[in-house]
Symmetry: C2
Subunit: 344 residues, 2 copies
DNA sequence: CGCCATAGGGTATACGTATACGCATAATAT
DNA sequence: ATATTATGCGTATACGTATACCCTATGGCG
């Protein structure tokens, strides 16, 4: 009696029942060592019995820490109906899991490269830090990243890891992956390898993959032909168009390294439509290992990124930043998944 | 001078600059009509100049509303490495967008059918309401849903919409979709139609789809053969196994209606391995229209759910519940996407 | 010309927690 | 024995906002 069960219990209720003061309850539950073991045990028991949970808002307001991370997802410029890049979706799972493990909530938001997102989450105390995800034109938000750094906003970014990249970055070893792909194609006897994907500094990750390919070719005594590089963004349509343009140019080639699986899938369609046999006439390698890569015919050889580690590393790095611990950029190794599209 | 620009401005700062009291600032910015137009304009201008944003925690603490929704995602029982059902992922985009539009933040969390999630978000004032997403064994969390209802937790659920469903539910017209699929198969001349998918009340959505198929068959004077229904959960492996079992049973059939695209894709593999020609020997229809459905060979006829509307409706319904407005269950129409797997 | 409704905004306070500080008691040092 | 320190906890208060309540000046009305 006495306690009305519907009202949410507060730390005062616990304190009353435990015969201590409210701050002691707070200390006990937060793990402060200046509270005796007996008192703590008693408080914890009562808290459990009352189904007490700390009020997140009050706690955050007082401590100025939200224990929440914000995931800002930048969509591809192409606004085709919510067809999100499958690659990022699988990273999402890994990130949420890692957040839960570390006791953080995850706030998620899709962004259209808009204007004011950089203030929205930090200044209103919604989150302690920000994870930035998404392909897209790097130059377009370069200035915003600089602004974030300037404001000392805590954030971490997935992308190309290089010396001039802005802020804390975690990413795959894109150059290494390009080398892997190039080497494999050369091993199966291909000599003229085309690259589909933007190779400008608007898309540093694609650029790196292309650089890796070129390095592998040069190491094998081959000289990359710039005419065999065609711009493409990460979509099937774009890949299709790029491959068609390549075919139309009349240049001959016996292999394609596509900067993403979506591009590769579009390219495969173009090649098949042109009557070419895969992989006999043209071998092809994609990037990302999306689920669909195993469903095409021929199934698609591709580069798999370690998304599980990626999510963990991103969260880890951000949390270290929040604690002002030293943290370095991280580069993740990739793995080549060999399938039919490069099976000679 | 005077203002230090790094400290985040509060409503007191605005009040000081505007020559009014802090509550007036709060009223002005929240749109209370008991503040004159001139005062409001002035306050809004100053707020903009200072880049002021309302502190989310303080606001939530005082008003007891967080303006945040929680999305709880229940994973399939199969814990295969983070291969999330693509269908839900595309709904995610629609939900986040709708939340943003309505001025709500979205908290996301993956759950393993665990025990205490029902208290975690409501009682700690992290969110105003909960969206529940995910296939899985309905009976398993039935009691928890009942608990939610009992606690008067505000939530909305995606799933089978029926009279005895617990809580507020939004879902596709699964029965209608089953009828659509069955009718189409009958139109192209098929008479013995198999169903792959759990038809028990552990999976009400699949059950509904099967019921629709049966209804279409009966309407055409055919009698559904219970032996042609095989249980399967939504995964490729499960579909593959179910189809193999069906083949092994020796029963003949000329069409399959699969409860999901993943099941259908697994089944197609089994049929192809058995030397059957698709769709000549067996026509097949899936469900969900995942991106991969357009990449199989033959491409897969399937039922498309209106995910865009789904997300909007879920958010809408939940927000109406929060305001104690009347809200009804919603049933969304589906669309049959005809592809090669049923092209005669 | 007095009465009341209304607009516009100030005063005081509550939301629930975390932390700086102080004050006992007990344990150790001198 | 007194001086010192550590332990365990209470007191007071701040975090930034929203809201109940109160007050004043005006205008309308009779």
């Amino acid at each position: 009696m006495g306690r009305q069960p519907s009202a949410k219990p507060t730390s005062f209720d616990i304190a009353y029942l435990a015969g201590v003061s409210q701050p002691t309850v707070s200390r006990a539950l937060r793990g402060s060592k200046s509270v005796s073991a007996a008192t703590r045990a008693n408080i914890e028991r009562i808290a459990r019995e009352l189904n007490y949970t700390v009020d997140k808002n009050a706690s955050s307001l007082r401590s100025q820490r939200t224990h929440t991370l914000a995931l800002l997802f930048f969509e591809d410029p192409t606004p085709d109906q919510s067809m999100i890049n499958p690659f990022f979706l699988s990273m999402l799972g890994s990130i949420t899991r890692q957040c839960a493990l570390r006791g953080y909530d995850l706030l998620i938001s899709f962004q259209q490269m808009h204007n004011d997102w950089h203030v929205a989450y930090q200044d209103s105390h919604r989150s302690d830090g920000i994870i930035l995800l998404g392909y897209g034109d790097y130059q377009l938000y370069r200035s915003k990243l600089e602004h974030l750094v300037e404001m000392d906003t805590k954030f971490v970014r997935w992308g190309s890891v290089s010396d001039d990249s802005i802020g804390l970055t975690v990413g795959s070893d894109n150059v290494g992956a390009g080398v892997q792909a190039g080497r494999h194609l050369i091993e199966i006897g291909r000599r003229t390898i085309a690259f589909l994907g933007d190779a400008s500094d608007h898309a540093p990750e694609f650029q790196d993959r292309y650089a890796g390919l070129c390095r592998a070719m040069k190491a094998a005594g081959l000289s990359p032909d710039p005419a065999l590089q065609r711009d493409a963004v990460s979509s099937e349509e774009s890949g299709h168009a790029a491959a068609r343009a390549l075919l139309a140019s009349g240049r001959s080639f016996d292999a394609i390294f596509a900067a993403s699986d979506l591009i590769a899938i579009g390219a495969m369609r173009a090649l098949t439509e042109a009557g070419l046999r895969l992989p006999h006439d043209v071998a092809i390698i994609g990037f990302d290992d999306i689920p669909a890569a195993n469903l095409t015919s021929p199934t698609l050889t591709t580069v798999m990124q370690d998304m599980k580690s990626a999510g963990e590393l991103l969260v880890d790095a951000l949390l270290r930043r929040l604690d002002d611990l030293p943290v370095e950029r991280a580069v993740l190794p990739t793995r080549l998944i060999k399938r039919q599209s490069t099976a000679v």
